[in-house]
Amino acid sequence: MKTLLDWFDDRTGIREVMNEALYERIPGGARWRYVWGSTLVFTFFLQVITGIFLWTAYSPSTQTAWESVYHIQYQMTLGWLVRGIHHFAAQAMVVLLAIHLLQVIIDGAYKAPREINFWLGIVLMGIVLGLSLTGYLLPWDQKGYYATKVATNIVGVMPAVGTEVQQVVQGGSDYGHHTLTRFFALHAGILPGLLIAFLAIHIAVFRRHGIHAKDPKHAPESMFWPDQVLKDAVACLAVLAVVMLLSIFKGAELSAPADPSSPYDAARPEWYFLFLFRFLKFEFIDKFGLAFGAIYIPSALMLFLTLMPIIALWRFGHKLNVFVTIILTACIMGLTGLAYYEDWYGDSDASVKFRKDVAAAHHDAERVRELAQAPAGIPPEGAVSLLRNDPLTQGPKIFAKRCASCHRYNGHDGTGELVMVDGEPADPTAADLGNFGSREWVEAILTDYQTVFAPTRNTTKDGTNLGELFLDAEYEMAGWVKENKETLLMPENKEILAGLKEFLVAQSAREEFAPYDEKLVAIGRDAFENGTLNKGEFTTNCVDCHDIKVRGEEEALGFPGSAPVLTGYAGEAWLKSFISNPGAEEHYGYGDKNAMPAFEDSLSDREMNLLVKWMIDDYYQSDESHHGDSTSGEAAADTEEPDTDQEPESESDNE
């Protein structure tokens, strides 16, 4: 064995290299405060290993980036762990970098003859921050996209060359394929290459001068190997443990796919840039323009950092450097804490809104995951289309924008927010549509018409109170209900009422209300057409005013002209027709008491589709999230659950 080693050493000179590397003397003994550089090297090693493996599965284009990261995170063997390590080690690197810098400054290891090495270290710091910035964009999710946009906008306000530099960095005048390919080339190729090169030089120059022992009498001199190596290894193990624990119990986040058309109001930079984010929000900084706070001041601080070895030549230079460093560290930590506190515990409108936006973003991320796992999967054009075409996501937004000025949805605007005017909740002026078309809704129309349409009293049409037109007329539905509801509510007619409900709801053929009890439907149809009751009589039969072509039949019952046509009532086609033109003859056109505008020209086909499909629950839901359909045929009790998706977001939702 020894002869083999001798031969190998003769050919390569390996023994001398190993001796040189391992037997570095450490005056004052091996110390914990020296481990930080090694932990940084180790963390870089973690990033290179996990990064290369991630590289075998990541695809940098706007249509495949998020999708490939989703695949890695949720479908590939241990993908979540490899990605988790990569994500949290990146954060750890920033912390370790700061500690290493602080130790070097406080212990005076930046002073002559180690100035150049200090400057090399600053270059390395810049490269690491560049790696963080470029890496953050690569999943192409909402968070990364909008956070990086802020950074490239800051580049854009650089004096003289800002615009051009921004365009080169972005790969164009806006974000797109080339932004990703450029950032990826930087992240996986150029910056790691530069880091390795500068790191090699940094270590070589460090070895030239040896460790700067602040206190050479701290302990007897020892060797790098094995004394310092053991301490380094333990520190690395601690770093790895923290990274693994975070990967397992927290997990790297993946927000919804980047959507340039959907603003991400919860945008924040990664936590280690929060101080700069908060700093820029101070009015006295903001006044001077973005370039001042975002470029000039940070540059000035970097300049100071670079000049520290020179400053240290002066008698009080080192003390000044340490003092400024401590003050800056305190300010940075303070600003970070302030930003975090304001975001998560603040009472201001902006803070409250931020937390709501974060919750909404989480909601979107979960929904897109649900859709991606559906049998239809992710289409070739990418996952961003999944949310854009999802009625559950888009319907409430359309409702809030176009309908909630008059209507409500379970008391709110569809998205969970109250409708406010001048800081006060506004009164609705049209019916609440939260349970529209359900058996509950039909029962309310037939027996409690005044309550359903009570909001119409809050507005006028052509000078007359709309409620008066709607609710006080004698010869209309309001009058019929007043005259007939006692009959309908008689215990003997319980089955008839249930039948009428069943019959009318069955016209919609909505999946969410199925199955429909055929027996009840028949009872209801009989009551509708012939007024068949168990006790009492209708003053007029439904069919005498309402026209209806019953589902499955050829001939229409009744004749049009005096009341809304109930063909397919509350179904998809009916709703689309109604929303397009509520004033049409088959809807509210008769009697001219319609106050609802016609939406056929102002809502595109796409928006109409999304809105209506949301209202009738016609969208994909996985088995776990699907909440119960209302059961059919229960004579008195209505068991339909309220639409739990639209509950107001809880404010305690934390990131």
Partner: protein, 195 residues
């Protein structure tokens, strides 16, 4: 200049502590090095470690079950036993994308003498070309290397390693012919399904 002559650590007092230090350094160093490597390796071996679920492999709706596709109507298959060439389309999963209704292969389907419907994968078991049907000679021949097969799929020369691969067929009451499309490894005598 740094003095790089090593201090001899061989003095007796410290040698055992020194040894333990070295042992622990190697152990801990080993753990922190191997952990990401092992995780990364498992991740890299995902193609063989993870059992894939094929998209829409539960078969088209209305069919006899897992993997069956509605290929042709019985009435479209000639009674004289002439094979019909049919393209097979399926949903394809490629990593994170699902592609709907993609061409994935083709089959021959024919009626036997006793009226049964049989189907073959048209991929030649020799080296994977698409086998042709020669109407005049009433047999299958592969244009690449001349593998020849009778209409019952059996090979008639030494070139292919096995007969044409027969597929499961079921006919429903409405006369629809359902075939369970499956590909097999080429170039070997045994029939080994490709996932």
């Amino acid at each position: 200049m740094n003095d790089s002559t090593p201090v001899d650590p061989a003095s007796n007092d410290v040698s055992r502590r020194n040894f333990m230090t070295k042992v622990w350094s190697v152990i801990i160093g080993g753990i922190v090095t191997l952990t990401p490597l092992v995780a990364g390796l498992a991740f890299f071996l995902d193609p063989i470690l993870r059992k894939k679920k094929a998209a829409g492999q539960s078969g088209a709706a209305g069919g006899p079950g897992e993997g069956f596709l509605n290929v042709i109507s019985e009435s479209a298959i000639p009674d004289d036993g002439t094979p019909v060439f049919q393209q097979i389309r399926k949903n394809v999963v490629d990593a994170w994308n699902t592609y709907i209704d993609q061409p994935v292969g083709s089959i021959y389907v024919r009626k036997t003498e006793d009226g049964n419907i049989i189907a073959f994968n048209s991929e030649c078991p020799h080296l994977g070309c698409t086998v042709s049907y020669l109407d005049g000679a009433r047999m299958f021949r592969c244009p690449c290397h001349d593998s020849e097969f009778e209409l019952n799929g059996n090979e008639t020369n030494e070139i292919p390693p096995r007969p044409m691969d027969e597929l499961d067929v079921e006919v429903d009451e409405s006369g629809n012919v359902w075939v369970k499309f499956q590909s097999y490894k080429i170039g070997v005598a045994e029939q080994i399904p490709k996932s």
